[in-house]
């Protein structure tokens, strides 16, 4: 396979709205439009420069023709547009998809984004309660847990049984990410420090998962602009080059296919690293999709940062804070920054770009940030994406 994509495209503009627990006055299209406007301006472009569009509709929305909806709303009329339907893997997948498009000559400036205005505290509509279990008649009659908590609890229980990854060990992820959030004024938990004991003492939401091992749902939006490397070099921001990326699907329903403690990112990361010409040991910053503590641990194992099953112990030896040896989820991650549904996964991409540009401010990593590993995760360990982003220095 020729490495035609390696370094051929870069993210040159990012736009994001601060995660908020409630945004009763705004709808999803409004939030996404604002984030897109911010991304275009950040890139130093005008609306008429945008000739490619990839918009991921809000989770569980049947947004037929969503690109057209957004195009009309934004007053942007592209000559290439496709959808994206990969749930929480959207951030990385949109970036890689856009990189392929500009590399193929289908567009010069591709605008990507997703948002949610969902009020996380509002009662869930009837249809949502019945369908959010990914399932169907073979799950709904047996009383699934709210959101994905029950399924990830089953993953955590198997990992705990097979490898001894107890809450005391998993809590390390929550705690180090919280430290990073405590340095990011945009994080919903900016003001609240966290200890391992806090995590262990937090209430159980779905045995064995505790509350402080889970994401914090928020409203928000995230967008970015991708262009060709030759165009990126003349632009106002330091480009974040896409060195490689892949997306791996292993199942839809968690119950039926394969060992559930193995997450799909293994295949995707091996392909992404091969394209990039780098390996896990070369990565200086990790922006790893965090829906739960166990999600991060499994993704790091599958991506080759440690051996399968050793994650629980290996993470104890790492310092994942912005001052540490292997900074992880430097914005706080979805657990402490906030998860704006699918835009939550997009925040790993925008944060990677900030770290590469070295514009993250208070939560900027002190050490080198030329090579960043980014992942996304959709569904119930259903589909995961991996990408290597780099500065000019690491090309």
């Amino acid at each position: 396979m020729p490495d035609t994509m390696r370094g051929a495209a870069a993210i040159v503009g990012i736009g994001e709205l601060k995660p908020e627990r409630e945004r009763p006055d705004r709808d999803t299209i409004s939030l996404l439009t604002e984030a897109c406007y911010l991304a275009i301006q950040d890139a130093g472009l005008t609306k008429s420069d945008i000739d490619g569009l990839i918009m991921e509709p809000e989770i569980q929305q049947t947004a037929s023709g969503f690109n057209a909806v957004m195009a009309e709303h934004m007053g942007i009329f592209p000559t290439w547009a496709t959808g994206c339907d990969v749930q929480g893997a959207a951030g990385v997948v949109m970036a890689v998809q856009a990189a392929a498009y500009v590399n193929a000559g289908l567009a010069d400036f591709v605008l990507c984004g997703t948002a949610t205005a969902m009020d996380p505290r509002a009662p869930r509509p009837e249809h949502s309660r019945r369908t959010e279990t990914w399932g169907s008649e073979f799950t709904a009659p047996f009383g699934p847990v709210v959101a994905a908590n029950g399924w990830y609890a089953m993953i955590a229980r198997r990992h705990e049984m097979l490898y001894g990854t107890t809450v005391e060990k998993r809590a390390k992820i929550s705690v180090d990410q919280r430290y990073n959030a405590n340095h990011n004024p945009w994080a919903v938990f900016y003001d609240s420090p966290l200890t391992v004991q806090d995590v262990v003492n937090s209430r159980i939401v779905a045995d064995p998962l505790h509350l402080l091992e889970c994401v914090m749902p928020v409203s928000g939006a995230c967008a970015f602009v991708v262009t060709r490397a030759d165009l990126a070099r003349g632009m106002r921001n330091k480009p974040a080059y896409v060195l490689g990326g892949a997306h791996s699907i292993q199942r839809n329903n968690l119950a039926h296919v394969g060992e559930i403690s193995i997450s799909p990112v293994g295949q995707a990361s091996r392909k992404a690293f091969r394209m990039a010409g780098y390996g896990p040991k070369d990565m200086q910053v990790l922006e790893i999709y965090d829906s739960y503590t166990i999600t991060v641990i499994c993704e790091m194992e599958e991506s080759g940062f440690c051996k399968k099953g050793e994650g629980g112990d290996w993470i104890q030896e790492q310092d994942f804070t912005i001052k540490g040896n292997l900074p992880l989820n430097t914005h706080g991650g979805q657990m402490s920054y906030g998860q704006a549904a699918l835009a939550g996964g997009c925040s790993h991409v925008s944060e990677a770009v900030r770290q590469i540009r070295r514009t993250a401010g208070e939560h900027q990593v002190a050490g080198p940030t030329d090579l960043v590993f980014v992942t996304g995760s959709g569904g119930l360990f259903s589909q995961q994406s991996a990408m290597v982003l780099a500065s000019e220095a690491a090309l």
């Binding site: 959010e132 399932g135 009659p141 699934p144 089953m154 939401v205 779905a206 998962l209 329903n253 119950a255």
Partner: protein, 150 residues
């Protein structure tokens, strides 16, 4: 004799694929599909085989399960997605691995959540939810300690 209260939890919504499963369930028979072409064990019900390198169309046949298996993983539910389950909290939601090599999501009942373990032997026990639908639930296999044997 009092009339049982009406069943308020979600019921199956059979499709042309799954109707045979629920018809058998009404007779307290647990069934799954097996591919005549490649031998794959298939669940949930389908009409085309997903087996590795198999292109079987119309090759899936219904087979009766022994109704015996092991706990593959489970959670203790405290926050059900559907409020109709609130009176049952806490209850066990589990993925089971059946002896024939297929998996299903269900409840483990008549069990102590604190001592239930992955690998525990379970057997089907039927809950007649309505006249139309019986739900396959499972309970720990009685009489012997067979934890993680074999």
């Amino acid at each position: 004799m009092t009339t049982p209260p009406p069943y308020t939890k979600p019921l199956p919504t059979p499709s042309y694929n799954s109707r045979p499963f629920w018809e058998a369930a009404k007779q307290h028979r647990l069934t799954f599909q097996r591919c005549k072409a490649c031998g794959a064990r298939v669940f949930y019900p389908r009409d085309i085989c997903p087996g590795k390198e198999c292109f079987g169309v119309g090759t899936l046949e219904w087979v009766e399960s022994t109704g015996k298996g092991r706990v593959y993983s489970f959670t203790v539910v405290l926050q059900p997605a559907d409020p109709a389950f609130r009176p049952d909290v806490p209850y066990i939601l589990a993925v089971l691995e059946m002896d024939e090599g297929w998996r299903m999501t269900t409840n483990v009942v008549n069990a102590d959540a604190a001592s239930l373990k992955i690998g525990d032997r379970v057997e089907v026990v039927w809950e007649d939810a309505t006249a139309e639908f019986s739900l396959p639930k499972f309970q720990p296999t009685k009489g012997r300690s067979s934890r993680r044997r074999g």
